[in-house]
C-alpha cells in the first residue's frame, strides 16, 4: 500500500502541493431487518476507493475515485491539484496547518467475537426470536428487529511523514414495536435499546448478545400497546429527569454540535448552521451548572467515536469541553486550531484535538464529534427519583429539532412517567420538552453515577456538503433538570 500512497504524495508535491494526504479505505457493511416474522432486508455491501487532499498555493483541493490503479492515482492526484488551483481564485487567506503530523502505527477495534465470523443463521435466528417476542402482544401491528455490522480498513499517509493503518469494527442491533389504534388514528412506538432502529458500538458480536434483544422484546411490545391508552403528557414547567439514551441525544445536539469549531467559524453555515459558542466565550462562558462536566474522548472503549488517529493523522485524545459548568474546549482540526489560537491567544491548544473524520474514501475529513460525554455524577437513580417531589421522567427519543445556532431545541420521547412524591407513577405518551441550551444545562442539578453510565452510539449524524454520515458516541447517565417546559402538543 505504501507504493500506492507514495505515488499520490510524490506526484502531488511534484505538481506544486505544499501539503498532501491520501486515504485508502475499504468498507464492509451488513444489514439485516426482520419485519413481522419475515426477513425483509439482508445485504452485504462493499465500498472501496481512495481520496487525495492537497494544499496548493494556500488553498484546498480534493479528488477521489473507486478505482485503485496507478493510472487512476495519477489522474485523481492531478485533478486534486487542479481543483486546488481553482480554489485560489477567491482566496482570502492561506491554509495554515501548524506543526507537522508524523504519526505512524496501527489500530484495531478490540473485538471479542468477530461479527463477520458469526453465521447468518445465528443472526437471523436471534432476530426472528426477538421479533416473535415483540408480537406476543396482540396489539403490535409492526414488529421490527435489525442488526448492522460495519468494518472499515483505512490507510492514511501524508507528505509530512505520517503513515497509519486502522481497522474499525462496529456492531449494532435493536427492536421496535409499533401499535396502531385505527379508530382513533393513533400510532405509538417503543424501541430497545435505542430509538431509530438500533444502538451501535465499537465492539463485536458480544455487544449484540449483551443487549438481550429476545429477553426485552415482550416488554417492549407490551409498552407500545399500553401507550395507546396512556394519558398524554401534560403541559407546564416542571422537573425533568432524562433517561440515558435521550440524554445522549440531548448531548449530541446541544453540546456536541455547538463545539465544532468549523461551525463556529462559519464554514458549515450554508447547511447545518453555525454555533452560539463564539470564540470570545472560550474559557469564560458558563455553559451549565457545576454538575455539568463534558469531555470529547476518542479513547473511550466501545464508543463509535473511538479510533487510533483521526483522518489528519492526529492521535486520539480526551479533550475537556466543560469543567464544572465552564466552557473550556472545542472540537478542532489542524487548521481551525491555528485559527482559534490567532483569535484567543496562547490559552488555546497549539495543536488539533483530533476531531477530523471523513465518511469514507470519497469525502474530505471535517470536524466531527468523537465521543462527547456528560461525565458521571454520584447519584443513584433510585435516590434521584426519591429526591424529586413532582416531575416527569422521559426516555428514548422520538423526535428532535434544534435551531441553526444550537440554542432553541425541542425533543419528543417514546415514553414518559409521572413522578409524584419521590415515586414513579403513571405512564405518559406524546411527551415533549423544549428549552434554550445554556439555560437548560444551567438547570441540571444532579447526574447519576458510574454504575448508571455507559456510552451510546449515534450512527446517523449528518453534516457537510456533499453529505457525510458520522458515527459518534455519547456517554450518559440519567440526569435531572429543573424548571423545564414540557408538553407542547395540542
Amino acid at each position: 500500500m505504501r507504493t500506492f500512497t507514495d505515488r499520490a504524495l510524490n506526484l502531488a508535491q511534484a505538481q506544486g502541493a505544499s501539503y498532501a494526504d491520501v486515504r485508502v479505505v475499504r468498507r464492509l457493511t451488513q444489514q439485516i431487518t426482520v419485519k413481522n416474522g419475515v426477513v425483509e432486508a439482508l445485504s452485504d455491501d462493499e465500498s472501496q476507493g481512495f481520496g487525495v487532499r492537497v494544499v496548493v498555493d494556500g488553498a484546498w483541493g480534493f479528488a477521489s475515485s473507486s478505482t485503485l490503479s496507478p493510472q487512476e492515482v495519477d489522474r485523481v492526484t492531478a485533478q486534486a491539484v487542479k481543483i486546488a488551483r481553482a480554489s485560489t481564485l477567491f482566496k482570502v487567506r492561506d491554509v495554515r496547518l501548524g506543526p507537522p503530523v508524523i504519526s505512524t502505527g496501527t489500530y484495531r477495534t478490540p473485538v471479542q467475537i468477530d461479527p463477520w465470523k458469526v453465521s447468518l443463521d445465528d443472526k437471523i435466528a436471534l432476530l426472528l426470536q426477538a421479533n416473535q417476542g415483540l408480537r406476543s402482544s396482540p396489539g403490535v401491528r409492526v414488529a421490527s428487529s435489525s442488526l448492522a455490522f460495519w468494518r472499515e480498513d483505512k490507510t492514511f499517509a501524508n507528505s509530512e511523514g505520517a503513515y497509519l493503518e486502522q481497522t474499525k469494527t462496529e456492531s449494532g442491533g435493536g427492536i421496535e414495536a409499533i401499535a396502531v389504534d385505527r379508530q382513533r388514528g393513533e400510532v405509538q412506538k417503543r424501541s430497545f435499546p435505542n430509538s431509530f432502529g438500533r444502538d451501535q458500538r465499537s465492539e463485536g458480536w458480544e455487544g449484540i448478545l449483551a443487549m438481550d434483544l429476545p429477553g426485552n422484546a415482550a416488554r417492549i411490545g407490551e409498552e407500545a400497546v399500553a401507550l395507546l391508552s396512556a394519558d398524554p403528557c401534560p403541559s407546564g414547567v416542571t422537573t425533568l429527569i432524562l433517561g440515558p439514551t435521550q440524554l445522549a441525544l440531548q448531548i449530541h445536539e446541544s453540546c456536541g454540535h455547538p463545539i465544532e469549531l468549523d461551525r463556529v467559524f462559519g464554514t458549515e453555515a450554508s447547511y447545518a448552521g453555525t454555533s452560539f459558542l463564539t470564540p470570545e466565550k472560550y474559557g469564560t462562558f458558563r455553559y451549565g451548572s457545576a454538575a455539568v462536566n463534558l469531555t470529547a474522548d476518542a479513547t473511550l472503549p466501545g464508543g463509535l467515536g473511538t479510533f487510533g488517529w483521526d483522518d489528519e493523522g492526529v492521535p486520539a485524545q480526551c479533550v475537556p469541553i466543560v469543567r464544572e459548568g465552564l466552557f473550556c474546549g472545542y472540537l478542532t482540526s489542524r487548521e481551525t486550531a491555528q485559527q482559534l489560537r490567532e483569535i484567543v491567544g496562547p490559552g488555546a491548544p497549539e495543536t488539533s484535538g483530533g476531531a477530523m473524520r471523513a465518511d469514507g474514501w470519497n469525502r474530505i475529513p471535517i470536524i466531527r464529534m468523537t465521543n462527547v460525554n456528560l461525565e458521571p455524577g454520584s447519584w443513584s437513580f433510585d435516590d434521584l427519583v426519591a429526591d424529586t417531589d413532582d416531575g416527569i421522567y422521559m426516555e428514548l427519543n422520538k423526535s428532535w429539532s434544534i435551531d441553526d445556532k444550537r440554542l432553541n431545541f425541542q425533543f419528543g420521547t417514546e415514553i414518559a412517567y409521572e413522578i409524584k412524591n419521590g415515586k414513579m407513577g403513571r405512564m405518559l405518551k406524546n411527551a415533549t420538552y423544549t428549552g434554550m441550551t445554556p439555560r437548560f444545562w444551567g438547570s441540571c442539578d444532579a447526574v447519576c453515577g458510574p454504575t448508571h453510565w455507559r456510552v451510546w452510539g449515534t450512527p446517523n449524524c449528518g453534516k457537510g456538503q456533499p453529505g457525510q454520515t458520522a458515527h459518534t458516541g455519547h456517554g450518559a447517565a440519567p440526569a435531572r433538570f429543573r424548571d423545564v417546559q414540557v408538553g407542547v402538543l395540542k
Partner: protein, 453 residues
C-alpha cells in the same frame, strides 16, 4: 462514468453466471464535483468518481410459498469482484427463511425515453464552478456581508436489468447552487436546481440572498402564538417531504401509519390543493424508470383536496395484488417506495398579493431541522431560518427573530388563504428529489417557541 455499453456488459455477465431463479442487477456510476464556499471564500473543493453494482437474487421456495432474497453490492467493477458479490448475494439468499410476501421481480415494460442530460453540466470545470461561487461571494463582499454555500455539478448513469428481461439505461445531470448570506444579525437564503448548469443564474441567486440578508438585519423578538404565515417555496417544500416520509408510500399505508389510511376518496385538505408525482414530466428533471427498472407513472396523490393514491414498488404492490407505480428505491429497502418527483399545483395569486392582503402575519423564507412529532397527523416541529419578517397592514413591517413551530401540515393545508401561481423547482433530501412548489399563505400556524437571533 462507465457508459451504456460497459454497464450492459456487467449486467449480462452477472445474469449469465447467476444460478438464482431470478436475478436483478443495478449498475450506477457518477462523476460529481462540489465547490463549497464560506466567509466569502472557497474552503472546500472536491470531486468524486464512483460506481456501484447492486445484485438482488431470488430463490423460489420449493413449497411455492414465497422466496428467499439476497442482496449484495460492490463498487469494484472488476470481474472477480462482481463474481464474488454475486456469490455473496446467493449465500445470503440460501441461508434465510422464505418471505411469503415476495412474488416476483418485475417483468419488462416499455420505457419512455426522456432527456435530462446536459454536456455542459457533465463537462463543468472547477474554474467554472469557482467563478459561479465567486460571483456570489463578490456580491456579498460589495454589500459588506459574508457568503457561504455550495455549487454542485454531477453526471449520473443507471442501468437496470433482470433475468425476466428488464433492460433499462438512463443518464442524467444535475446542477445545484445554494447560498446563505450572513451579516452580524441576519441571514438570507436562495437556491436553484437544474439539469443544465448554464441555466443557473448565480448573480440572481446571490442578489436574492443578499437582499434578504440586508432586509432582515436587526430582527426584533416576537411572541410565539398562532399567526397567519406566508411561506416561500423553500418552506413549502418541507410539506412535501414530510408528507412523503409520513404517508405517501405504500409501506406506511399498509402498516397503518400513513395519514392516508382510511381516507382514500375523501376530502383531506383544501380543494385548491393538488399534489402528484411525475417522473416523466419535462417540467422537472425527468427519470424514466425506478430502481427496479419499472417505468415511472404519474400518480395523483391528492387531487383537488381528495386523497387519491399512494405509490408502490413491486414488493408492496404484490402484497395487494396490484402493479408497481414505478417508485422503488434500491434493494433492500424496508422503508418501501417513495415519490421523488413531486409537483404541488400552483394557484391564482402571488407572494406580493399575499402580503398586501395580510393584516398581521409572519413571512417565512424557509424552515430548519424539521421533524415529525405526530406522524399520523403530520405534526411537525422546526425552526424558521434565513429571513423571517412580521407583516402588518399589507406590508413587510420588520424582521423578527427566528421562531419554533409545532404544527400539523395537514391542518395547514386545510387553512389555506392562497397558493402562488408561480412555482419553483427545488432539489431536496440530499439531491434525491426534484420538487416543484409554490408559495402558500396559511392562517392559524402555531409557533411554540422563539430563539435569540
Amino acid at each position: 462514468m462507465l457508459g451504456q455499453e460497459r454497464i450492459k456488459q456487467i449486467a449480462e455477465l452477472i445474469l449469465a453466471r447467476s444460478m438464482a431463479d431470478q436475478t436483478e442487477v443495478m449498475v450506477s456510476a457518477s462523476d460529481s464535483a462540489l465547490t463549497r464556499f464560506a466567509n466569502s471564500t472557497i474552503h472546500q473543493n472536491v470531486a468524486e468518481t464512483d460506481a456501484e453494482v447492486r445484485i438482488r437474487v431470488v430463490l423460489k421456495d420449493p413449497s411455492g410459498s414465497g422466496a428467499k432474497i439476497g442482496v449484495a453490492s460492490t463498487n469494484n467493477v472488476e470481474e472477480a469482484a462482481l463474481c464474488r458479490t454475486l456469490e455473496a448475494a446467493l449465500s445470503i439468499a440460501r441461508l434465510q427463511p422464505p418471505n411469503p410476501d415476495f412474488h416476483s421481480l418485475p417483468a419488462p415494460q416499455p420505457i419512455t425515453e426522456v432527456a435530462s442530460y446536459s454536456e455542459a453540466t457533465a463537462g463543468c470545470s472547477p474554474e467554472t464552478r469557482a467563478r459561479g461561487a465567486g460571483a456570489i461571494c463578490l456580491l456579498a463582499r460589495d454589500a459588506g456581508v459574508v457568503a457561504s454555500g455550495a455549487l454542485t455539478t454531477a453526471s449520473l448513469e443507471f442501468g437496470i436489468a433482470n433475468s425476466l428481461g428488464v433492460s433499462a439505461y438512463h443518464r442524467t445531470t444535475q446542477a445545484d447552487v445554494n447560498t446563505v448570506i450572513m451579516s452580524d444579525t441576519s441571514a438570507g437564503y436562495a437556491s436553484a436546481f437544474s439539469m443544465d448548469v448554464r441555466t443557473l443564474d448565480f448573480e440572481a441567486i446571490g442578489r436574492e440572498a443578499v437582499t434578504k440578508c440586508m432586509k432582515s438585519r436587526n430582527p426584533k423578538p416576537l411572541e410565539p402564538g398562532e399567526y397567519t404565515v406566508i411561506l416561500e417555496p423553500y418552506a413549502v417544500q418541507d410539506f412535501l417531504h414530510m408528507m412523503t416520509w409520513t404517508g405517501f408510500g405504500a409501506v406506511a399505508y399498509q402498516e397503518g401509519r400513513s395519514f392516508m389510511v382510511g381516507k382514500l376518496g375523501q376530502q383531506i385538505v383544501d380543494r385548491r390543493v393538488s399534489i402528484w408525482d411525475d417522473g416523466l414530466s419535462s417540467e422537472g428533471v425527468p427519470f424514466p424508470f425506478d430502481f427496479e427498472g419499472v417505468p415511472k407513472q404519474r400518480v395523483d396523490l391528492i387531487e383537488a383536496g381528495v386523497a387519491r393514491a399512494v405509490v408502490y414498488d413491486s414488493y408492496s404492490a404484490g402484497k395487494e395484488s396490484r402493479h408497481s407505480t414505478g417508485h422503488a428505491l434500491p434493494a433492500p429497502n424496508p422503508m418501501g417506495p417513495m415519490p421523488l418527483n413531486l409537483f404541488f399545483a400552483g394557484g391564482d395569486t402571488s407572494i406580493e398579493e399575499m402580503i398586501r392582503g395580510t393584516q398581521r402575519g409572519i413571512y417565512v423564507t424557509r424552515f430548519h431541522y424539521t421533524r415529525p412529532v405526530d406522524p399520523v397527523r403530520v405534526v411537525i416541529t422546526g425552526m424558521t431560518r434565513d429571513g423571517t419578517f412580521l407583516v402588518e397592514n399589507g406590508e413587510v413591517a420588520y424582521p423578527v427573530k427566528n421562531l419554533r413551530f409545532t404544527q400539523s401540515y395537514l391542518e395547514s393545508l386545510n387553512s389555506l388563504d392562497g397558493i402562488s401561481r408561480a412555482t419553483r423547482l427545488l432539489t431536496g433530501m440530499g439531491g434525491m428529489t426534484c420538487d416543484s412548489v409554490p408559495a402558500l399563505k396559511v392562517h392559524q400556524f402555531r409557533f411554540t417557541g422563539a430563539t435569540e437571533f
